[in-house]
């Protein structure tokens, strides 16, 4: 164990120099607040999808903590202080909410393995990962297991078969269903998926709009989850744990582009409301794109980053190969973050406008 401590790169901070006061903030506290902010979404999702959400979250959290501890052990890092920073839990909860409810256990474990062990720990652990861990895990699953990843539960009253807790667990662990139920009876296309297929078949958006899958603004159930995420996100903004730049610009980017296309051809393109409250839009805007480690830090950088995520999300949703596009949009933009940081340094105090700009290059 002494070896483990001495290899801790952060040790040796017993320096007595100013400032002599510190705020009570801590990384685990910040992460804990993010988890609190995700609670409304989890509750609404539970209401919409039932026990499947709970199994997702529990298995994802267990998996994430397992991989995190294992990797910390292998990397000779102090396990307790890093596992208790809650960052792995945030990743796990985001992944658990983003994956189809009632996802089989191996899917969750594979996803969390890629997210935590590969995307995060292999790149140096907390603070050093270039890509958003949750989205990296999600993208890998989406490419590797398309069938499982598109098998979404039908929300709310839509399912024909309502599974209880034990039946859900039996399905998740043993891939076992009650005799009278088949898998297809309780799954349905997600609203975004439905929109894609219908539009590509030539059905107009106004017809899609009145279908039973669609609720007041967007997909039934999904819109409520998005609203709950929005609520949690606004609370995070209020608590100053995230700045407004990224959420506002992600939503604006997506809203502006979808609005423009909808305005041009209302029957061929969905309206902004549908896009903003479908899929993982809100989760992306407030919780995924705002992941500080992988996002730019300068205000201007954040604004560019957010807009581009919004644009990319719309482009991939509309013309790409997948119904939702948040994961790819975020991952693509993650690569640009260091560059954005370098070229969008704020003008420092006392630097001439032009002079500062020139020196930044």
């Amino acid at each position: 164990m002494p070896l483990r401590q001495s290899t801790n790169q952060q040790s040796g901070n017993n320096i007595v120099s100013a400032p002599f006061i510190a705020s009570g903030q801590s990384i685990s506290g910040v992460m804990r607040h993010v988890i609190y902010a995700l609670c409304p979404a989890a509750v609404v999702a539970f209401y919409c999808f039932g026990w499947g959400i709970l199994t997702n979250l529990v298995i994802a959290c267990a998996g994430a903590l397992l991989w995190e501890s294992l990797m910390l052990y292998l990397r000779n890092r102090p396990i307790t202080s890093y596992v208790t920073d809650n960052s792995a839990l945030v990743t796990a909860i985001l992944l658990g909410l983003a994956l189809p409810p009632m996802a089989p256990w191996w899917l969750l474990l594979t996803g969390t393995f890629f997210a935590i062990a590969v995307a995060k720990q292999l790149y140096g652990g907390l603070g050093y990962n270039a890509l958003n861990p949750a989205m990296a895990g999600y993208a890998v699953l989406l490419i590797s297991f398309p069938r499982e990843m598109s098998a979404w539960l039908a929300p709310l009253a839509l399912p024909v078969a309502d599974l209880g807790f034990f039946e859900t667990v039996a399905w998740v662990i043993f891939n076992d269903l009650p005799n009278d139920v088949t898998f297809d009876t309780f799954t349905s296309a997600t609203p975004l998926d439905y929109l894609r297929t219908e539009i590509s078949r030539g059905v107009s958006f106004s017809e899609v709009r009145v279908s039973p899958v669609v609720g007041a603004i967007a997909g039934k159930g999904v819109e409520w989850i998005n609203l709950a995420v929005l609520l949690g996100g606004l609370w995070l903004c209020y608590k100053k744990l995230i700045s407004w730049h990224i959420p506002v610009t992600v939503l604006a980017g997506l809203g502006v582009l979808s609005g423009a296309f909808h305005f041009y051809a209302p029957e061929r393109f969905a309206d902004p409301g549908f896009h903003l409250f479908s899929g993982a839009t809100m989760l992306c805007a407030f919780f995924i794109a705002t992941d500080p480690v992988t996002a730019p830090v300068t205000p201007l950088g954040k604004i560019i980053y957010g807009f581009l995520i919004g644009f990319l999300t719309y482009i991939i949703r509309t013309w790409g190969g997948y119904p939702d596009a948040v994961a790819f949009a975020v991952l693509l933009m993650n690569f640009t973050a260091p560059l954005l940081d370098q070229y969008t340094q704020p003008r420092i105090y006392g630097a001439g406008q032009r002079k500062g700009g020139a020196r930044n290059g």
Binding site: A18, I21, V30, Q345, I348
Partner: protein
């Protein structure tokens, strides 16, 4: 309690313009800290007795250390110059009381790295007798600006806000001065010496400001006070009104301005931004904007120096903290050992109490309580280590950007930290590390509890050291090149000389008739002329030239 200390950051609450402050400009960044000012600002200034021994460092100001002009054993009087300035940016040092010089030696000084510096140690005689040269002056306002400036320099006055930059240098009129700012902001928690000075000695400040106005001739004078000091503001306003009523026309240009309570609004550049909306260009001084900024304590010291003729031999300082019986403000003779001050303020040295010189944000921890009070000592803060946050085990940076939000310079501390850790000094320069004022805001809000300021100090000193090294290397490279050229020249000269000599010898040889007599002599002569001088030319003249070269390079 920590949560209470950090209440809100500036950007959460837009500043409201005060009536007196028409052009309040927002200072970006900064944090709102709990002040703890009431611990020490309730009582007037008390004068601390002169200690039996004074330890007066030769360097209490920014710039070159003063040169001692007294010897061990000399009798000195209060206010007598005992060390004179050494260079333009320097300041004289005076005896703070009468007595005998006991030693001139290295003693611990209050410094972050616990170093020792040359100090003049005086054993006081208890008479506290002023030097005969200390004479009060009836009408200093009648003196010329140059005269006033000289007297300020001779009085050893340096910025008493903590930076201790020689004031006379600041007052050099290089461009037209529009605004003279008298800085009474005092934004660091706990410190109240400027507060009580303004409360109880407002007249001295105003008179000092009028003297300064005589030197720099500003269009207006602003006394800036943080809005958590209403009494100080009232007292200054009353004093201004008194002068106006007494018919002092210059007093019409003075007004008091409240600035919002935010750390570090009292920093010179930050205050200028808050008051005028202008930003001091990076790497230059405020006078380029037509602004001169001096601390209220300095202004009062200038009053003392010019009206009373008393040089800077004592200062008002705050002694405060939770571990004290009698916190408050004291007028302390410069050179008084810190333990003497602490003992008077009722500090029983506890096991785990720490003494900080300055405030909790930018102060330095004092390791040796025998270190003296210097011109920069505006506060001694005693806190139990339990209350002072020791840097806990820090976590990796998650780039949350809180530091960038609170940085008053709008730097990106997280990037600076990243590059400082990897010692990428060129990148650090690109990210303007030299503009960091080490205010500590970033470190206070950091959720990863990283010792950011420590990293920045390290990086800055390293960059400086490297700059010096590079200069040195350049000098030695130039020297070496010059040496090679010289040697080459000498070699060529010698070869020519040899060739010439050979030629001469050849010419001489044919008529050589008596080789047995002349040869040994000539060979000796040739060796003494040829070999030994050769060695000399190769060794000694280059050395002399070396020194010449070094001198010109240094110059």
């Amino acid at each position: 309690m920590i949560k209470r200390i950090l209440k809100k950051t500036l950007w959460q609450k837009p500043l409201f313009l005060k009536r007196q402050l028409k052009k309040a400009k927002q200072l970006q960044g900064g944090i709102k800290l709990q002040g703890f000012k009431s611990l020490s600002n309730a009582t007037p200034v008390q004068t601390l007795p002169v200690p039996p021994q004074l330890i007066i460092p030769l360097k209490q100001h920014i710039g070159e250390a003063a040169k001692p002009i007294v010897n061990v054993g000399s009798q000195v009087y209060k206010g007598q110059i005992i060390a004179e300035p050494n260079g333009y940016i320097s300041s004289p040092v005076h005896a703070s009381s009468s007595g005998v010089v006991a030693a001139i030696e290295a003693r611990p000084i209050p410094h972050a790295s616990h170093i020792r510096e040359t100090c003049i140690v005086i054993h006081t005689d208890g008479k506290d007798q002023w030097h005969p040269s200390v004479q009060s002056m009836p009408k200093p306002l009648a003196l010329s600006a140059e005269d006033l400036r000289r007297r300020i320099r001779e009085a050893g006055i340096a910025g008493l806000g903590g930076a201790v930059f020689p004031s006379a240098v600041k007052l050099k009129p290089t461009s037209e001065i529009g605004t003279l700012i008298i800085n009474g902001v005092e934004c660091e928690p706990y410190i109240t010496c400027d507060d009580v000075l303004m409360r109880y000695h407002a007249d001295a400040i105003i008179q000092g400001a009028l003297l300064l106005a005589r030197i720099v001739r500003p269009r207006k004078i602003v006394v800036a006070i943080e809005d958590n000091k209403p009494q100080a503001c009232q007292s200054i306003t009353n004093a201004i009104n008194r002068f106006k009523a007494a018919g002092v026309t210059a007093a019409n240009t003075i007004h008091a301005a409240q600035v919002p309570e935010i750390f570090p609004a009292g920093g010179e550049k930050q205050l200028i931004k808050v008051l005028t909306g202008k930003e001091v260009p990076s790497g230059s001084l405020p006078y380029e904007l037509g602004i001169v900024c001096l601390n209220v304590g300095t202004t009062a010291a200038i009053y003392d120096a010019l009206y009373l003729g008393q040089p800077l031999v004592s200062r008002i300082m705050t002694v405060t903290g939770e571990g004290l019986d009698a916190p408050g403000n004291y007028r302390v003779s410069l050179g008084t050992p810190i333990h003497y001050v602490l003992a008077h303020a009722g500090f029983a040295r506890q096991q785990n109490a720490e003494v900080i010189m300055g405030g909790p944000m930018m102060g330095v921890a004092i390791a040796d309580h025998a270190a003296p009070v210097v011109k920069a000592t505006n506060c001694l803060l005693i806190k139990n280590t339990r209350q002072i946050r020791q840097p806990a085990a820090s976590m990796p940076c998650i780039r949350c950007g809180q530091c960038a939000t609170v940085c008053p310079i709008r730097l990106l501390p997280q990037q600076l930290y990243w590059h400082a850790r990897s010692k990428a000094f060129e990148k650090l320069a690109n990210y303007h590390i030299d503009d960091c004022i080490e205010c500590g805001c970033c470190q206070v809000v950091c959720p990863a509890k990283l010792p950011l300021v420590h990293y920045f100090r390290f990086a800055k000193s390293e960059i400086k050291a490297r700059g010096r090294e590079r200069k040195k290397a350049d000098v030695s490279r130039l020297r070496n090149e010059a040496r090679c050229v010289r040697l080459e020249k000498i070699r060529i000269e010698q070869e020519e000389r040899k060739a010439r000599r050979k030629a001469i010898r050849k010419q001489v040889k044919p008529p050589d008739t008596n080789p047995d007599q002349s040869m040994p002599v000539s060979s000796n002569a040739s060796s003494s002329e040829g070999v030994i001088p050769e060695a000399q030319t190769e060794e000694s003249p280059p050395l002399v030239k070396h020194e010449d070269q070094a001198k010109t390079m240094v110059r």
